[in-house]
Amino acid sequence: MKDDANKPLAQALREAAKELSALEAPPAVWSGVRAAFERAHPPRPAWRRPLAWSGAATCAAVLFGSALLMQRPQPVETAWPQARSSGFVPLLPVQAWGDGPAWLVAAEMPSERLAALGLPYDPAHAGERVQAELLMHASGEVLAVRLVR
């Protein structure tokens, strides 16, 4: 349609094309398609979903880890004197530590916390997390902290 004689026709077709391009399939079409898709792909039962298994595995790992942690109580009554001279920084006055058992608990903390605890802190490693050990009283109070790495 390049010759002049067809210009009016080309114009008419352009108008029709423009009009046609404004039309969309009715929403009911999508509803029918979606329903057919869902019939063909029914949702899996919860126990068959990969996410469910990974969630269960995570829970099991946490429980197992907690059990291990609870099984490694430190006889701190005899260890306390050692702890006091083994790099632990007391967070409570030693006189206030009281009696009773205590545990060593592995922990991770932001490196910025080291400065607040009076431990060596390199600002170049700001934002990183460091491994530490907490000396925790049976009451839940953290008595002292030690930088591991």
């Binding site: 349609m1 094309a17 039309l23 969309e24 029918g32 898709f37």
Partner: protein, 207 residues
Amino acid sequence: MMTFVPWTRPRAAAAAAAADDSAALLRRLARGDAQALDALYRREAGPVYRYALALCANPAWAADATQDAFIALATRPGAFDAARGPLGAYLAGIARNGLRSRWREAQGEEPLPDGDDEGERAGADSSGAADSPETRLVRAQTSAAVWQALRQLPAAQREALVLVDLQERPYAEAAQVAGIELNTLRTRLHRARARLAALLAGPGEAQ
């Protein structure tokens, strides 16, 4: 510093990108990913529906044909073979088959031809000059007149015109949707344009 960028035809590049995208979406669809279906539907449903509607001029039939095409895709995505053409052509082809079934059921309606219909109504093609066809054509260029004239075209010619002139599909894709050779498509298109021009120009021109 100037960077050399190889020249590519924008339309070809866009088609290649769409094909890649379709392949990825179809893989996800085959795994039951509803979002992939949603993306494919948003991209392809409009052209398929418009093709069907322009062909049959019946919104309900066009909607059904579009739905059939997408249900086929949603439930059997593996049936699409990218080596045979783009996804849009595949879906339009399914819609076309759906319309043909409806036409067969509703006897009296005009069916799409299986093969060539170039001999059909060939005498209706008009190339004769009238007193002032351009003037009358301009007057006839209302939307209703154009659509009415389109409906008067033989189905095969109308299909060629819809695919190429109204939907601006590449000739190869249009031929694939219509299930005909490229040369046949060109011939049908030429005749469709001539006949449409005659119909728009006035009653005396089309016969």
